[in-house]
Amino acid sequence: MRSLDLSVDIAGLSLKTPLILASGILGLSGRLLAKISRAEGVGAVTTKSIGLKPRDGYPNPTIILLPYGLINSMGLPNPGAEAFLKELDEAEDLSSPLIASFYGYSVDEIVETARIIAKHPRVSALELNVSCPHVSGVYELGFKPELVAEAVSKVKKIIDKPLFVKLSPNTHLIVDVARAAAEAGADGLTAINTVKALAIDTELFRPILSGVYGGLSGPALKPIALRCVYEIYKEVDIPIVGCGGVSNSLDVVEFILAGASAVALGSVIAFKGVGVFRELAEGLSSYLERKGFRSVREIVGLSHR
């Protein structure tokens, strides 16, 4: 059992541990989000990305399991902002902050969606997804620093909760987007979303996913995500949630050393279940103890010395 205090403060949120449930992972149900928020080791939970209108996402197949990760092409299924408020009503006994992820095809839609979901009392913070690689409209936003800046400043004007921006690794402009978001008033950055990917069935000669392209996540993504966090930490001053391929506690440490103040877990939930939060919290705690640190904060960005 862990004996060390793993709490972190990030962008105005106080988390019991730096471990966050990533967006799109089991995050459609208020009841389930609440249950996960109470699991040992969980610092915060993020909802599925919510848009203004309901979306079915793509027909199946929407996922491919590889020996080194997943490719998903869910296509942002979600019940839409209004319906999601009811979902949140069911999120009883949340015991960690809930971050509401959202998206829009235009700045106006982004602002409108933020307005709706931000007012729910169970929403502690928002995360703007401008990086889903299999939904066009949302994907391209992540390559446009000016548009992201515009969206961020407009959203910040109408909400009084912390705002994260979830970044795309599919561009050489990731640091520019991060900087633009920070300058426009974002409180934190989540790096990264999936990398655009494809798989073909060699028996049927066709792409496997019905959406053709998907996003690569899981272990394969880790070295890329880590590089993004490291690059952003060098240039941008707001806190970073590291995300991509975390599967054990040393991965968590790597992200924090690279500059992340917290770390989000996605695909690993498929491989290890929700119990992974506890496993990683314990591992992180023993790491810190073994190396003589007293808090997570002490090692944030330490690899940049």
Binding site: G24, I25, L26, G27, L28, S29, R31, L32, A34, K35, K48, P54, R55, D56, G57, P59, N60, P61, T62, I63, L65, P67, Y68, L70, N72, M74, P77, N78, P79, G80, A83, K86, E87, D201, E203, L204, R206, I208, S210, G218, P219, K222, S247, N248, L250, D251, E254, G266, S267, I269, A270, F271, G273
Partner: protein, 278 residues
């Protein structure tokens, strides 16, 4: 440097294997059983399901309705695009299969009651063969709309004649067997002598049997549905209550069914939108 580990058996279960249909059997008006070479490397448990990929159309969950060492069978009712196309397939046609997925039924020695309604009998058929194999005293109650919608009738009658199961078929309009619902029959024979009650079918049936089993304090397991996408417990699409049908189910025991609560009352669409039932 990280050591990571994606379970080999998980990789294996989620590999889409392209297989050929070797046999089709028209079960009734709108329901077909499809048989293919066994693509699994492990023996499935009754109640586990497969994801069947109809290339260019969809990939949908179907229960395992038949399994021997060489052959896997599913039984599908045509209710929409994917299932209708499946129902039209012929021997030689190819589909993709992954599985076996999810948690199946628990086999309990003694006396068991198997209650099925409509195409919900699919997983129960495979279960019944297993129960017989291990010597469970098996009572089967199947309910259908009418004679034209009955499934596995001959097969079950044969098992009954051979004395391997006790069988009771009901149709709502009385065109075959008892004029009753599966619930009517089941509720009449259910007593403390049963060691396990297995249910699959319309959620209304499951909900009512659940109430009964709670009243009588009988152990019960039911296979329920959720909107399946990933089938591996990551996307959250199949959530019912605070459980994942693909990972924690599709078979749930009495207490979990109670905890889920919403059975027969509401479910989710592809978008996650909640849709009231009834």
């Amino acid at each position: 440097m990280s050591v990571y580990h994606i379970d080999r058996s998980m990789l294996d279960r989620h590999r889409r294997r392209i297989v050929r249909i070797v046999r089709r059997v028209d079960e009734c008006l709108d329901t077909v059983s499809l048989y293919m070479h066994n693509p699994f490397s492990s023996d499935p448990i009754p109640g586990q399901f497969t994801m069947i990929w109809i290339p260019g159309v969809d990939e949908i969950p179907l229960s395992i309705s038949y399994m021997d060492s060489c052959i896997l069978g599913v039984t599908v009712r045509g209710v929409g695009e994917a299932t209708r196309i499946l129902c039209s397939l012929q021997p030689g046609d190819t589909i993709g299969v992954r599985g076996p997925l999810g948690r199946g039924f628990t086999i309990v020695k003694g006396r068991s009651l198997v209650v099925g309604g409509g195409v919900g009998v699919a997983p129960l058929r495979y279960l019944i063969y297993r129960l017989i194999d291990v010597g469970v005293d098996t009572y089967v109650v199947f309910g259908f709309r009418d004679k034209l919608h009955t499934i596995y009738l001959e097969e079950m009658e044969k098992l009954s004649v051979e004395g391997r199961i006790k069988l009771c078929i009901a149709t709502e309009d009385g065109s075959y067997g008892f004029k009753a619902t599966a619930y009517d029959i089941a509720s009449r024979i259910l007593d403390e002598s049963f060691d396990m009650v297995y249910v699959c079918g319309p959620e209304e049936l499951i909900r009512r049997i659940l109430v009964l089993c709670v009243e009588k304090d009988l152990p019960m397991e039911a296979s329920i549905e959720g909107y399946m996408k990933c089938g591996m417990g990551v996307c959250g699409s199949c959530v019912r209550g605070a459980y994942l049908v693909c990972r924690d189910g599709p078979v749930f025991d009495r207490d979990k069914l109670l905890e889920i609560g919403e059975i027969g009352l509401r479910r989710r669409r592809a978008s996650g939108t909640i849709e009231p039932l009834l």
